[in-house]
Amino acid sequence: MIQAVIKGAYNLLVGLGVTFKNMLSKPVTFQYPEQKRVMPDRYRGRHFLNRDEDGMERCIGCSLCSVNCPVGCIHVVAAENDPDNPVSKGERYAEVYEINLLRCIYCGYCEEACPVDAVVLREHYELADYDRKKYIATKGDLLVYPEPNQFSVNFLGNTKIVNK
């Protein structure tokens, strides 16, 4: 019985030691608004539409992202490319490309479904706003990421900026 008491007291002291060690260690807090976190490569934040090496839109308006979307937040209207002044390399391009960011669950299925690596989810996580209307991301909002924005998806699904 005395042995049990000593063992129990010892275990309590070990617990106290653990918290004491924690106290001396560096806090893991990010001082958020001043100090922003560097998100991991595979983080699924806000969507962007890629351009290719020549600065043309990658999206060919196939609507596979829209079909794959489990909540149906992507709206794509495709249009035929003008051969003299093409918008994308394919036959068609997305005339309208809208994502409802409030409805989106950031699952990344659109990114996986895209055959041309056009739509990607990037590390941007500061998505709060005061206006609901701003949450309908149109093509103008989605194509802005560093110009010319060229991403590739490697075999792990990581999106990366391709440097020229």
Partner: protein
């Protein structure tokens, strides 16, 4: 004119000094509470490898003041089924008993000003220790009444748990404090501190010190013995129905009790304002430092240990703490008798 006033006041200086001391103790104690809340939140944060509040003011020091302002301006909600009188009485009892308890604790040598001896205590009672136990156990009434008058089964359960817990741990508290009384031969806290001038009782009475501290943690309803207010199970327990400043008063009572318990441990076991280090002789600072250390230990315990189940709490109190404190008391009284007869 002024001479007349002074002549009139002459026989009543003791009264004026008493009132001033009472005000200083009450105000000082209540203004320590926000600092203690700040300390607890910061220290808890560090124990949990985070920072704690650091936005409002330097190091977040203004945070508790801001919280207090928020609580003051909160809507005062009293549900229809509550017993209004008791509902308002309960927080007052809790804070009142907490402050009165502290008034009997000495925290320094008396000094003389203009022929009057001023002791650094609210009242130097012959039965100081007894008085403290008597008044602090009155605090249970506040908690039970709070649970009862809320007319809410969870509050009632919180209040009942609390009363059961405090009553059962008070026995251990009293028995271990009795060891100190046996060794020093006095119930007067000032004399107890004086008798520790060469060595604090924590060393010869180490088991009693440990048991007293454990029972003290249970007595102040602090984690891991914070069953009465068990945030997760009872939704703040006996003060579920309280809002605004009345809610804050329960908090204040708890923190003042924490300070009182630390001060009591300091006086009984850690030698009060005796510093034991030559050259470091500023009685109030030494006392405050010891109390501060004990408060840190309180917070340390809270951030380390999970809450004990209710039946185990009772088992621990009645089957382990009480018999062992009885044995310890008997051993020390035997030692005392032997040393007196030898």
């Amino acid at each position: 004119m002024i001479d007349d006033i002074l002549n009139f006041l002459d026989p009543y200086w003791w009264l004026i000094i008493g009132v001033v001391k009472a005000v200083i103790i009450a105000v000082g104690l209540l203004s320590t509470v926000p600092l203690l809340v700040w300390l607890e939140r910061r220290l808890m944060g560090r124990f949990q490898v985070r920072l704690g509040p650091n936005r409002v003011g330097p190091f977040g020091l203004v945070q508790p003041m801001v919280d207090a302002i928020k609580l003051l301006f909160k809507e005062n909600i009293v549900q229809k089924s509550a017993d209004k009188f008791l509902f308002y009485l309960a927080p007052a009892i809790v804070v009142f008993t907490a402050i009165v308890t502290f008034s009997a604790i000495p925290f320094g040598e008396p000094f003389e000003v203009g022929g009057e001896t001023i002791g650094l205590w609210g009242a130097n009672l012959n039965i100081g220790l007894l008085f403290i136990f008597a008044v602090s156990s009155m605090g249970i009434y506040g908690i039970v009444i709070a649970g009862f008058s809320s007319n809410n089964k969870y509050s009632l359960m919180g209040g009942l748990r609390s009363s059961a817990q405090m009553i059962s741990y008070e026995l251990t508290l009293g028995l271990t404090a009795l060891c100190v009384v046996i060794m020093s031969g006095s119930l007067n806290l000032y004399d107890i501190v004086k008798s520790q001038s060469s060595m604090p009782y924590a060393i010869p009475l180490f088991p009693a010190f440990v048991l007293f501290f454990i029972a003290g943690v249970a007595e102040t309803n602090r984690a891991p013995f914070d069953l009465p207010e068990a945030e997760q199970e009872l939704v703040a327990g006996f003060f579920t129905e309280y809002s605004g400043m009345k809610f804050a008063m329960f908090f204040m009572g708890e923190y003042v009790n924490m300070i009182t318990m630390s001060a009591l441990v300091t006086v009984l076991f850690l030698g009060g304002w005796n510093s034991y280090i030559p050259g470091l002789d500023i009685p109030i600072l030494v006392f405050a430092f010891k109390v501060f250390l004990l408060l840190c230990v309180f917070i340390w315990l809270r951030s380390t240990f999970p809450r004990i189940r209710y039946d185990r709490l009772m088992t621990f109190g009645w089957k382990i703490l009480l018999p062992s404190s009885l044995v310890i008391m008997l051993v020390y009284s035997a030692v005392k008798v032997y040393s007196l007869s030898a």
